[in-house]
């Protein structure tokens, strides 16, 4: 698997603008950051030793293959560290954008510059980071900080937001981490390709969140190839790998027999999932409101779309980035569960109410929720689109120009044999 293909150009100034807009939209965040700063000062009290329970790690991507990679742990040592980890639980708890930002800005990223080629290194800071990543519950650690943390909040379209950062001199485990047996198995097999190991873990009940932390720590794949994977890329890599596996399982499955329409919304994001009889085909169309953090300069709705046919994609998507892979996973999980294939269209409307990017988990979980909802049935795919079009912020004609599936779904030759 070539992870470099998941790199995309995210302009620095756009990121900064998004952060500023997000801060403007919620004074709570600014206030919260001040509270985090106070808390950090109180906890550290001039001491460079920071003891906490680390639930997660973070691997940056800037400067790849020399990246900054760190252990994340709550600034407040008395809280339940597991609540800071991105998972489907955040959706089930109905977290607000504010609470996501607060949770993530309360996590200190104690990091070191590292080369991603870690192979079988399990000592020093690299070792601690890897142990935290493969453990199935938060691990007690002691980190020696080289400097005073900088309190900030950075946002990303794929990864969850991240909070204060400090450079770490060293770190030690303060307990023996608990590592699930399936993870030990993938670790000890030095000749298992990363894609196969990811699928194995998924089939053993690990959710993509856990798998991407493990992948990101460089704990999967043939030993000599093992390297740290920037968090942002690992999220998409796992969504993609698991989806390709699931798509394979429904390749010969029979089609669903009528058009099904489902809906769910979360944090100002509306999702429609339309499944219609046919071979596997998938498209995500995203509409982003003008003047929102996602389309700050726009005077009109921004529309982006990506599509794959029965055989899947060979190239990284152009317009919808990690959202595509997260949405497709949700749809494929539902189809694989039913052992059916279908032609699937996901429409996402990002309203102005979605004022701060929380990460791609929002898309994955909302689509997962939508496909598990009761469906409305429609006479035809076209009929379904026409009905939904009334609720969309763009015209049917504009949708059709951006959506391959709306313009026409691929048929099979056998459908025309007399």
């Amino acid at each position: 698997m070539n992870l470099e293909e998941f790199i995309d150009d995210f302009e620095r100034d756009e990121e900064a603008q998004r952060r500023r807009l997000a801060a403007e939209k919620s004074y709570a965040i600014t206030e919260h950051l001040e509270a985090v700063e106070d808390r950090l000062e109180a906890t550290l009290q001039g001491d460079s030793l920071f003891g906490s329970t680390a639930p997660d790690i973070f691997v940056g991507r800037s400067g790849y293959p020399s990246v900054s990679a760190g252990v994340l742990s709550p600034v407040d040592p008395d809280t339940d560290a597991s609540r800071y980890v991105t998972s489907s639980d955040w959706y089930e708890r109905g977290l607000s954008i504010d609470s996501v930002f607060q949770a993530r800005s309360g996590l200190l990223n104690a990091n070191q510059p590292t080369n991603v080629h870690v192979a079988d290194a399990w000592n020093g800071f690299t070792g601690v980071r890897r142990e935290v990543a493969i453990a199935d519950r938060p691990v007690d650690v002691e980190v020696e900080l080289a400097n005073q943390p900088t309190v900030d909040l950075s946002v990303d379209s794929i990864a969850s937001p991240s909070g204060p950062r400090a450079t770490a001199d060293d770190a030690q485990l303060a307990e023996n981490p608990h590592v699930p047996r399936a993870v030990e198995k993938t670790l000890s097999d030095d000749d298992w390709r990363a894609t196969g190991a990811m699928t194995y873990l998924y089939n053993r009940g690990f959710d993509v969140y856990e798998i991407n932390t493990i992948l990101s720590a460089g704990a999967l794949g043939q030993t000599s190839q093992r390297k740290l994977v920037p968090t942002r890329w690992s999220i998409t890599a796992v969504d993609d790998t698991v989806s390709q596996y699931l798509r394979g399982t429904i390749r010969n499955a029979s089609s669903i027999d009528q058009t099904e329409v489902r809906y769910a919304e979360f944090l100002g994001n509306q999702f429609w999932v339309i499944l219609t009889p046919g071979r596997w085909e998938f498209e995500l169309v995203e509409m982003k409101a003008p003047q929102s953090v996602w389309n700050p300069r726009g005077g009109d709705y921004w529309i982006g779309s990506d599509h794959e046919s029965f055989e899947g994609r060979t190239e990284y998507v152009d317009e919808t980035a990690g959202a595509y892979y997260a949405a497709r996973l949700g749809v494929l999980e539902a189809l694989a569960e039913r052992d059916r294939q279908a032609t699937a269209l996901v429409l996402r409307n990002v309203t102005d109410a979605y004022w701060g990017p929380v990460g791609v988990w929002l898309i994955r979980e909302t689509v997962r929720d939508a496909v598990s909802n009761e469906s409305a049935t429609a006479e035809s795919f076209h009929g379904a689109i026409e009905r939904i079009a009334n609720e969309l912020p763009i015209s049917h004609d504009r949708l059709q120009r951006h959506s391959v599936l709306t313009a026409g779904r691929q048929t099979t030759l056998s459908a025309f044999d007399r």
Binding site: S309, F310, S380, A407, R409, L413, A415, D417, R418
Partner: protein
């Protein structure tokens, strides 16, 4: 028993026309020549290839069906210079294909034909419009459409008697029109169907620019594209299912 000598150009043109849809296929060999029929994994595109015995420099068979990995076979054939002759011999006992090109010898392991997807029947289509067009015009239409969109509408205007191509993109459009005089021939009937450019781009690669291509079209119906290869001693027919809006 099968042994044949064929020019590398003829063999490659034949293989390329099939490999745009599938990676492996069955080749049926009988006294009239070689035929390949295959359908792509999505069951949307089909190819029917005939290479007559006259297309070969020499050709002998008792009637055989072999299964080949097209990518491999194309790679080997690609080792030949344009006018080199390629010598093919089937090893009965080992079920391998001996390929000789100017001193180079390659033994290709064959695939069990039963393990290859069953050959499709050619669909029985009654298409109302037929045109004959030069390969280079198809190339122009496909190349221009690809700049704006990933699908393309092909149609015939019955009343005004012209063939047209439309592509609608996010912001830009392409329209291309050829009337009776600009076509080789036109037998008009109302037709308009949308097709995936992924397929047409691949098929276009296999169509010689100077070929005369017969195109049969209908309304939200498959398209039939037929042209000759090997100086008239072979033919390729593509059938492609449309993308549709209705049910």
């Amino acid at each position: 028993m099968f042994t044949a000598i064929v020019s590398s150009g003829t063999l490659l043109a034949a293989l390329d026309s099939v490999s745009v849809l599938v990676d492996e296929c069955k080749i049926r060999l009988d006294e009239d020549g070689a035929t390949i029929r295959a359908i792509d994994p999505a069951s949307a595109g089909m190819v029917d290839l005939r290479l007559e015995a006259d297309a070969f420099e020499s050709y002998e068979t008792d009637g055989e069906t072999i299964g080949v990995n097209l990518t491999r076979l194309e790679d080997i054939a690609g080792m030949a210079n344009a006018d080199d002759l390629i010598n093919l011999t089937l090893e009965e006992k080992t079920r391998k294909l001996q390929i000789q090109i100017d001193g180079l010898e390659y033994t290709l392991a064959l695939i069990d034909p039963d393990s290859i997807r069953q050959e499709p029947d050619l669909p029985d289509l009654d298409l109302p419009a037929t045109i004959a067009i030069e390969g280079r015009d198809i190339d122009r239409a496909v190349t221009a459409a690809d700049m704006v969109s990933d699908h393309i509408a092909l149609g015939v205007n019955d009343a005004e008697e012209f063939f047209y191509v439309d592509a609608e993109g996010d912001t830009d459009d392409v329209h291309f029109e050829l009337d009776r005089d600009e076509l080789i021939s036109l037998s008009a009937g109302d037709a308009h169907s949308l097709f995936s450019l992924d397929y047409l781009k691949e098929m276009n690669k296999a169509i010689p620019k100077d070929a005369e291509v017969t195109v049969d079209l209908g309304d939200e119906f498959p398209v039939n594209l037929q042209f000759e290869i090997a100086e008239g001693n072979g033919s390729v027919t593509y059938v492609l299912a449309p993308r549709i809006q209705g049910n």
